[in-house]
Every structure is written in structure tokens, then in C-alpha cells.
Subunit: 135 residues, 2 copies
DNA sequence: CTATAAATGAGAAGGGTTTTCATTTAATAT
DNA sequence: ATATTAAATGAAAACCCTTCTCATTTATAG
């Protein structure tokens, strides 16, 4: 019951928000741009404006329900937040996105931030390459 | 003599290109946006169009003379390519950018790409935080 | 059930970047 | 040196993704 999540975040339970959540949960892409979400909504017959999709996704991000990936200066993609930090591998040919976690890298990052006197707030690691299918 | 570098890259030696190179070499910022470069040109009395600055920076990137950092969905910044791979720490308050290299992380990245069957072409690691000055 | 603050849709506006196209310039051949 | 030609430039328009504006609608608290 995700209405609870919305209320907890101080957000009214509205149809656009429920539908966006539903799409993020049902998609097998896992990583969707605002445009992707918007099109999926249209496909399921929901006439929700693109501006609303952007607003809702940003609110979800603030609420910790989704994570935003800012890929290489291009458009952002969103993924449902599962609480487990992970980084990304991106196929430069087909745009497939794969996830991974690596404790060694996480640890090194903390050490580097500390050494440089930075209070780390976040980090992002993208490995670009050509995936198995595309080679 | 950087005219050689331009010719080697198949680029004509023109005043805009020489001036942009000069600015990137002289700046103590090291990381400059296209707008930064454009403004520096104006300050030194060179009336070079912003579109040209973008074009030149992109050509320099293709030629391997500069590297482009795509920071968090915002604007791009450019740095003179020194051949030594490094990653970046970014202060979320003052936008200061610091560099670091870490062989352990480099090695782990290669291992992960291999394990996932990716032919790695590039990678980007950004650590966001609050720098010493801003804490 | 009413009041009210929040959410929505549509379109305009925004920021950074790229494109278009006419003009200028560097490099090449004469 | 000069003419030729392909490349580079400037200015403005176009672009893409995203955010804002504002009038209208809707969820929630009283």
C-alpha cells in the first residue's frame, strides 16, 4: 500500500502520484526518464501532463522514494529507491543500464573524502562501455 | 608550441583556437565552463562568439586536448587533458573542484566491467561533499 | 459539508548547448 | 605572391530537457 509512503512524505494521495509510482514499480526497465514515464501513462490511458510527471518525480526524489541519475549531461533517469546503494554501468551503444555494488570502492571513496577534508554528501560512479549483447 | 597540436588534430590554426588554448593553459581555475572561457576571452579583448567557444572546446575534446566533465545534469566544465586519469571531488557549496587518483578504485572498476562482460570505454566518478573551507 | 491549502494542466519561459547560413579565413596549389 | 577551396566563424535561431506561472481542480482538515 503505497498511499502510506506518500502521506509519510507529506504528499497528498492523488491519481498522478499513484500512477507514477505504479509505473515505476511495474516497469521491467527499472530506469526511466520523465519522458518514458509520461509515455507509459499515456499508454495506460492516463492523461497526465509532462510537467506533473517532472514535479512528481522530483517530489519522490526528495521523499527518498526514487533516485535520480544524471547521465553524462543528458537527460535524467529515475529508479525506484531500494535503500541499497549501487553504482551503474552504461552501455554506450544500446543505453542498457546495469547496477553493481562494490564495498572496496565505497570504502576508498570515504577514505578519499576524509583525506581531502570533504564531508561527503553523495557520490556517483558511472562505468561506460559496450555490453555483452552489443560487442 | 601548440599550433602543432592543432595541426596534428586536423584543425586549422586560427585565432579563436589559439586563444582558447591559451586561456585553458593560463587559468588557475583549471576547470572552466564554456561561459567562463567566453568571458575570459572578452576580458582579454578577444571578441569571439560563444558558439565558437563551444565548437572549439568540443573539437579539442575530440582531439584529446581537453576533457569534459558533465557535472550532475548541469553545465559542462572543461579541463586541459594531462594524460593522467583522475576523478573529482566537488564542493556542493562553493563548486570548488578537486582532483584525485586512486589505483584501487581504478582496478576495481576494471574488474567490475570485466565481470559484467562490459568493454569499458570510460568511467566517471564524482564525490560530492562540503569542502574544508565551507564547513 | 465547507474551507483551504495543495496539486494539476497547459503553455510559456529558462538554461545550456547546437545548428543554420552567410561571410570570412587558413591552407593548398598555382 | 595569388587564386582556389575547404574549413572556420559570428549571430541568431533552434533545440532539448526541465521548471515556472497561473488559473482551475482536488484532497484533506475542521
Amino acid at each position: 500500500m503505497e498511499s502510506q509512503d506518500l502521506r509519510k512524505a507529506g504528499l497528498k494521495v492523488t491519481l498522478p502520484r499513484l500512477k507514477v509510482l505504479e509505473i515505476l514499480e511495474k516497469t521491467e526497465q527499472r530506469h526511466m526518464s520523465a519522458e518514458d514515464v509520461y509515455k507509459s501513462l499515456l499508454e495506460m490511458g492516463e492523461e497526465i501532463g509532462l510537467a506533473t510527471v517532472y514535479r512528481v518525480l522530483t517530489q519522490f526524489e526528495d521523499a527518498g522514494l526514487v533516485a535520480r541519475l544524471s547521465i553524462d549531461g543528458g537527460h535524467a533517469v529515475f529508479e525506484l529507491e531500494d535503500g541499497i546503494h549501487h553504482d551503474h554501468l552504461l552501455c554506450v551503444r544500446c543505453n542498457r543500464i546495469e547496477e553493481f555494488t562494490d564495498d572496496v570502492i565505497e570504502e576508498r571513496q570515504r577514505a578519499i573524502a576524509k583525506q581531502k577534508g570533504f564531508q561527503m554528501t553523495d557520490h556517483a560512479l558511472y562505468i561506460y562501455g559496450i555490453c555483452t549483447e552489443c560487442q
